[in-house]
Subunit: 95 residues, 10 copies
């Protein structure tokens, strides 16, 4: 199952919050790289000039997607929208 | 250059408009398949249950993207948003 | 897999459009009852006073959900939002 | 009387607020389970990947619904919308 | 049970539609007056300068409210929001 | 002159702010009851499950309404919309 | 009593509708000039580049404002917002 | 040149912020009165019940308007919208 | 005086409306080129993939801007927002 | 490649935040002037009365635009929208 997820990160503005955020950002990086290596986080694109990304996930169940997103180290600073995908009738490749 | 484009199609509701729309839809299909074969329309996903898609384009210039979108046979029934992409710092693959 | 779908129906205002709509409404009724009998359209609630409903679908795949929604006889007059569901941690029953 | 309630939880971002929130979350859990056992909170679904849920309540009066929602331990971090329900004309089961 | 309903009427702009609207408006008037006499449509206020009203309904059930609103002769030109009411803790009168 | 006022209260989330809010809430209660007794705050309904109310005011001037709202003890936590009312042409009672 | 009214005019796009609109526009002009001469429509400003205006009305009652706006010849193409005014505490002139 | 400016003031909710705000409010008052006396801030109306105003400015240049607004003592708590004005074709007075 | 204007064009969807639109588009082109040659429409950029543009106008008065925009041949299909400009304090060139 | 960027700055309201902001503002000024001298930040206009600007960037790649915006000293207080540009068909000059 494929899901496109649009993430918008809102870093805190105050110094103290920024520290907690920076620590979580390091963890997020490892988390994202590990999931990419496992083929779950299939694609990851940064939107130019913004703290936003498009992420393509391939999971075996909605539960897997849920757990994966809930455990994002930056989760509390991220606003998410989730789009389940199907094969487009004009697509030439398999999904 | 990579661009993620989100398209939302609004088919006309009246019978007459629907005919023009159906004709254009056929043309759109060939158009999309041709651009996929040429590697320009790199990815195309339908959002489940909706008349919307995410499209990933790889073009040599903004002008090429512009022409490509302006000539979509369904263009007048499509509402678009365009997101220029860069490599995400946590991405493990090249863009 | 469970999905909550919120549907908002916008009947046409003009007489001619209303006829096409009424015909489709009959077909929609059979379609909805059939899917309920098959256990796919598990729940269906009308929002009081409005032409809106909440629908709970249980499907085997996202593709099945997509086909089901695309074939709603009233589809062109319906505005949809789709929410994939997981078991809530405070839920006492299985999903 | 049946009401569909959509709840969106916004946990605080700062550490101190998070502590108060976590304590309330424990209380919320007991509260939700108790109301489910009493058949008032008839259904509870988590929306995948988000801190949101759909809740189906069966109450004897609007006042009962009001009291129940006002006393949610997490109430001050929850944004609510309430939808009174009636039987859908295409529903095959009783409400 | 008390419900505050906010109604916004959007009359058609074209001449033909206006005729159907005017006919329905006559029916709406009788309908509203009859329900007021029966004590169901307890209050009705026009918002100054706008084609909008606040309506206070007292009904025995959500179903009664639903039927009443669904049968408004002007229903297809009306946009509705419905607010179930309870006694305010600072209110000096019974509801 | 009659005005329908829709009030939405946003209590502070932090403990310290909550104390100031609770003190003001007590004052608000006396204020509201006094104005009801004087016939100025003619009606007051709580919207079920929400920290919102509809309030019907009868005042001699816009200035009186302004002063009354500006002096609400909870004013800084309240978001207001104000709707001047006239007699609805289908109303059977005097305003 | 003073009211600031913001009007946004949406002329029809089709030729036939434009004719009815143009006729009403002539009537609107006389209507506006007459009310200005009577001192009711105290001020009238066009927003540059847009089909919008700010209008300051001085009326003896909300009912008078309501009638005046309801009878605008262009009323069905106008979207209105109404703001009752009071003297600003920093104003040096009487209202 | 005439500009209508709509200002919405958002006073801080916390005690400390309120002190800075109150000090600035005093300065704002002198500032507004001075500009009125000089004929630049030609009109100033408070919107009833809200912390908002409509302000009519007559300036010699856009730069003058900019400086004037940038130096409002309450500027950091004010949200502004600016509308350049021209003479309305139905206006009987000169602008 | 400099104004940045953002224009969004909404071509009609039906065939008949499209003819009127295409005729006006030709006139728009001459109109725009003439104003560019006269130095009034100083800059004109198309937003890629969309029927929108940013236009920089240099005019002697707000009235001139108003007339210029009101006479755009495509005016009835264009939605406009207007932003008066001043020199940015960090700008190195004169405005 | 040309991009129009609309920036909206939201300075912090509290004193402590304001200090960090003022320091960054100084750095922003040098940053902006340097990029203007290098011809990358081709144009910069302040929107009158608001803490907003339109910025025209000419870059060799989307990556360059991304880096440039990410390194704005005021970045965490700025809300951005980015519009890739192409030559308008009615433009008389080269882009």
């Amino acid at each position: 199952m494929l899901f496109m997820v649009h993430m918008r990160v809102s870093p805190p503005v105050d110094e103290k919050g920024l520290q907690a955020f920076e620590t979580a950002k390091e963890a997020e990086r490892s988390y994202a790289m590990d999931l990419q290596e496992r083929g779950v986080w299939r694609q990851l694109w940064r939107i130019a000039g913004l703290y936003e990304n498009f992420s393509l996930f391939e999971v075996d169940s909605v539960e897997e997607l849920h757990d994966l997103l809930e455990n994002l180290p930056l989760r509390r600073w991220i606003d998410l929208s989730i789009h389940p995908l199907v094969r487009h009738p004009s697509r030439i490749d398999p999904l």
